[in-house]
């Protein structure tokens, strides 16, 4: 085999014996020692892994792993011991994991305490805020915005929950009700029953309620429609226009606009047009229920968080 040797840095190195273009040869170096030993180590590791973890299938089952079990409690309170698997590992982690236990201790306290008790306990509120912030970001922020206030371009799509105007009520009981069961916001479209002139009059009256300067004769005519059977607006918004929380009807006398983009309109005509469009087209908004997705404690924490975000009642 002396033909297959060549010189590299003074040492003889084996080549594969191939030669191209007369003298182009290919070294046949052995694999580096560290590589070989790492390779053998992985083989030994796998032998250990095969013994300890579920691995090899046979017949219609598989090797379950030796001396590697997980014990957890099922919902009946019985201890269940099973071979190692990720699903049992999760149950165990949720039941006895360090972080889960820390959280559980707080959640049990939250569950037992009333809203008033939690609100007056700084330690509990600190926990409520830190956990609810994450739950809010994961579930609520998609509609209500990361801080409960909407991005500017989403104005009117969803209610701002960081202000102190509450469509469905701002007490802890009402907020909890809203989150648990969801809400269906509905205002009928008046585009068919009222002509453009009447819509204009109505819009003037509604804007006047919150102190905007409006054309008084139109507003007076609008008031008749609002308070009379023709519009019937008073039925939900009240004769004084302050709204009705059981229907999710907005208070029209404050400076907060939840659907009509009045703040975004510079001129009076724009404001009238914005209000008119809402009366004409109506509103259909839905907030999903969260009781099947979030736990009782999570809803309670969210309620507190939202209550504190805006001026809760």
């Amino acid at each position: 085999m002396s033909d297959n040797n060549t010189q590299q840095q003074g040492k003889a190195v084996q080549t594969t014996g191939h030669a191209w273009d007369g003298d182009l040869q290919e070294f046949n170096n052995p694999l580096p020692r560290w590589w070989i030993w790492t390779f053998y180590a992985t083989i030994i590791f796998s032998l250990g892994y095969w013994i300890i973890y579920p691995t090899w299938p046979y017949a219609n089952t598989f090797t379950k792993g030796v001396g590697n079990t997980i014990t957890f409690q099922n919902s009946a309170g019985e201890e269940v011991t099973t071979h190692w698997n990720t699903r049992s590992l999760l149950i165990e982690d949720m039941q006895t994991g360090e972080e889960a236990l820390k959280q559980k201790a707080y959640l049990e306290k939250v569950n037992a305490a009333s809203y008033e008790e939690i609100l007056s306990d700084p330690d509990m509120m600190a926990f409520a805020n830190s956990m609810a912030k994450v739950v809010f970001a994961d579930n609520c922020a998609a509609c209500h915005g990361p801080g409960g206030d909407l991005p500017e371009q989403a104005f009117g799509l969803y209610p701002n929950v960081a202000d102190d105007a509450w469509l469905w009520g701002g007490t802890t009981t009402e907020i909890e009700q809203t989150i648990t069961h969801g809400r269906n916001g509905f205002m009928p479209a008046f585009g068919k029953s009222l002509n453009d002139e009447k819509l204009e009059q109505l819009a003037n009256y509604v804007l006047g309620l919150s102190g905007h300067s409006v054309e008084t004769d139109k507003a007076a005519a609008g008031q008749k429609i609002f308070q009379g059977q023709e519009g019937g607006c008073y039925y939900c918004h009240g004769t004084d226009g302050t709204g009705l929380k059981s229907q999710g009807a907005a208070n029209l006398t404050d400076a907060v606009w939840t659907v009509a983009n009045v703040p975004g309109a510079v001129k009076e005509e724009g404001k009238v047009a914005a209000v008119k469009s809402v009366i004409k087209n109506g509103i259909t908004r839905q907030m999903p229920q969260w009781k099947s997705r979030l736990g009782v404690e999570q809803i309670k924490l969210l309620t507190l968080y939202v209550h504190e975000l805006g001026g809760g009642e």
Partner: protein
């Protein structure tokens, strides 16, 4: 000649190299693939999972067409953090009628395995048309054409037939229909009848009004119908957590 094992003898013998390569691959294949045909308890027995209705299937096809899977997985793993963020981990049973499944392993956007009924239909429409109008930091592209493109309903029957060929129990004959009534209930079985696929698709879109516009049937209707179904079929409150671990 004294026998001495040298890898070289395999490398320079093409026939031997092919033979031994096949042997190694077969062992891997046998160990990883074959048990799946015999270990029948890998798919959990749960109530509620059914094949997609024609409208949902049409939506799913749009989901695949638009490449949603390149950024969104549909696989919640059994970890505490995923449980807290997304809900119960995904079950094999939940994607048993998916061809192809949309599990994925790369999340540029959030996992969608349980996005169904999380947001309102209006939110989905708004978000698909202009994601940044509701989630300012989103990098998801706009999909405005979904609301503008009429949904092609003429090919739905063929699609269901194709899925039936790979094992999804859409019904063609009366017998198959009766079997579906027993398995999924009458209401669902009607939706799985291939012969009334197009009629069912249109009826569900009309009744559900997913895109908020009853006057026309668009791709948005199908897409939202599909998204609103994701992860909602199994009622997890019915099961002890330990039950699912028994299938592992």
């Amino acid at each position: 000649m004294k026998f001495r094992f040298a890898h070289e003898s395999i490398e320079i013998n093409a026939g031997l190299l092919i033979g031994l390569t096949l042997l190694v691959i077969s062992i891997g294949g046998l160990v990883e693939i074959v048990p799946l045909f015999y270990i029948d308890e890998t798919i959990e027995e749960v109530e509620g999972v059914r094949p997609y209705t024609p409208l949902e299937q049409a939506g799913r096809d749009i989901y695949v067409r638009e490449g949603c899977y390149t950024c969104h997985s549909q696989m919640i793993r059994p970890f505490r953090d995923e449980l807290l963020r997304y809900g119960h981990y995904s079950l094999a049973a939940e994607s048993q009628y998916d061809h192809p499944f949309q599990w994925g392993s790369k999340r540029t956007g959030p996992d969608l395995a349980r996005v169904g009924e999380k947001y309102s239909n209006e939110w989905h429409v708004q978000h698909l048309e202009a994601p940044r109008s509701v989630v300012p930091e989103s990098i998801m592209p706009n999909y405005p054409w979904l609301s503008e493109t009429a949904l092609n309903t003429s090919d739905i029957e063929g699609k269901l037939r194709a899925l039936k060929m790979v094992g999804v129990p859409y019904s063609d004959t009366d017998e198959e229909y009766q079997a579906n009534v027993e398995r999924f209930g009458e209401e669902a079985a009607k939706m799985l009848d291939i012969h009334s696929a197009e009629k069912n698709l249109i009826a569900q879109a009309q009744a559900g009004n997913y895109d908020g516009d009853r006057s026309n049937l668009t791709e948005m209707d199908a897409m939202v119908a599909y998204l609103q179904l994701l992860g909602t079929l199994v009622d997890f409150s019915k099961y002890d957590e330990g039950y699912f671990a028994e299938f592992r």
